[in-house]
């Protein structure tokens, strides 16, 4: 049945088979949850926001946990005041910063690039905006990601390495 649900989602079932699958899906609480879970998984894979209104988050999460190649969605944590939403606010300028593994997209919370004074009484100075582009460059250097910004003539690449 699980296979049928999966096929139904993918639009692979004939009309009559689909009717049967839908009938079972809607008449059975467990299958309904599975159906929802599959959609949630699909959305997670497509990186959409999970749909609101699921009745049993725990069971869905369990279903996801048992799926072998599934990306469990992470709950989006809003950027709290006092954080720089660096990847986010980088805006169009940072599109040039092409990430490698793990830096492909900037799916980060939207919001202004707020910098903050550091915790505690270390710095009582007013907040300022951090040059996000600079930070992204350093991310690329730190992780040694191949980056389009490094396309420079050989003569410019006089960096001394250890």
């Amino acid at each position: 049945m699980t296979q049928e649900l999966s096929s139904l989602m993918d639009g692979e079932l004939e009309a009559r088979e689909a009717d049967r699958a839908i009938g079972i899906c809607c008449g059975n609480e467990e299958m309904k949850l599975k159906w929802q879970a599959y959609h949630l998984i699909g959305e997670a894979l497509r990186r959409e926001e999970p749909r609101a209104g699921f009745s049993s988050t725990r069971r869905i999460m369990e279903a996801i946990a048992t799926e072998p190649t599934v990306l469990a969605p992470r709950r989006r944590v809003p950027a709290s005041a006092g954080r720089i939403a660096f990847a986010a606010a980088a805006s169009v300028a940072t599109v040039a910063v092409v990430g490698w593994i793990g830096l492909q997209e900037s799916g980060s919370p939207s919001g202004p690039a707020l910098a903050t004074s550091a915790p505690a009484a270390r710095s009582a100075v007013a907040s300022s905006v951090v040059p996000l582009k600079n930070v992204n460059e350093y991310v690329v250097v730190h992780r040694q990601l191949p980056n389009a910004e490094f396309y420079r003539p050989v003569s410019d690449q006089a960096a001394v390495r250890r």
Partner: protein, 330 residues
Amino acid sequence: MRRLAVALPVAALLAALPAAANPGIDPLTWLERAAASARQSTYAGTVIHMQGERTATSRITHVFFSGSEHEKIESLDGPRREIVRRDDQMQCYFPDAKTIRIDRRVTAKFFPSLVGGPMEAIAENYRLALGNVERVLGQDCQWIHLDPKDALRYAQRLCAEVGSGLLLRAKTLGARQQVLEQYAFTDLRLGREVSRGEVKSTFLSQSKDWRRDVQPPDEPKPGSTGWAVASPPPGFRLVGEMQRLLPNRLQPVTQLVLSDGLATMSVFVEPMSNPARTAEATNEDGALSVFVRPMGEHLVTVLGEVPPAAAQQTGRSVGRQAVVAGAPVR
């Protein structure tokens, strides 16, 4: 007898690898085995990397022969690009720009080769324990737990395939045990299923006339940048120090690299272009923390797979290195 003849060379080969030793119940042995297996065995597979809210897939092919690691990493998302690595020498192919960047691995960590540092350093900074054996990719997989001894590093969960020791999964956990970053193989071929030819660049034949962007191999002696981290978090030691030229900087930027055996931090010091900056700033993205601190006419930026507190402590203790009789003081 025929069977024995086949089995013997295999046994000899396995005996030559630390990976083949029976790891028993010592988590440190498992860790050594995972490190050795990632370097010295042959494998190919698809890797999913989840960091913060992003996921990315890549295909990794790793072959070990003539005492060298040969590896190809193809990004499967976004613009086409590919790393071909022989030990620490990296060639990054950018087919769209017809460019090959020649670089040297310093801070880069490519799954499943996540355990790089000296084992003593790791044991000094993390509590090691064995977790459950789980079925992963159809194989028995032993979880290895690394829990930090202080709040200045993250916990790691590594899952090593019982037969080969190779890591099939890896997670970085935050203070509330939440997953900050993880890697997982979604398919894997091992040993003879992978041929040497597979590690050649996809772009080898068409890249003859591509631009080659070469990093000079000059290596300054440690301490030559004039900057030092006076009091990094316990267990973090300086493992690299260099000057880099970045595309948008006129002057070279100093990079200091610190490691506790598992986690790595980069400290960048650059002349400040905007002296009006006066505030410190902190941020984190997945397991990566960023701390920016203006310091007189310089700007210090710390990046690393560490909690923000560790990046802050490091950034706040950056200063000019004391020099006695012309020799750097360590």
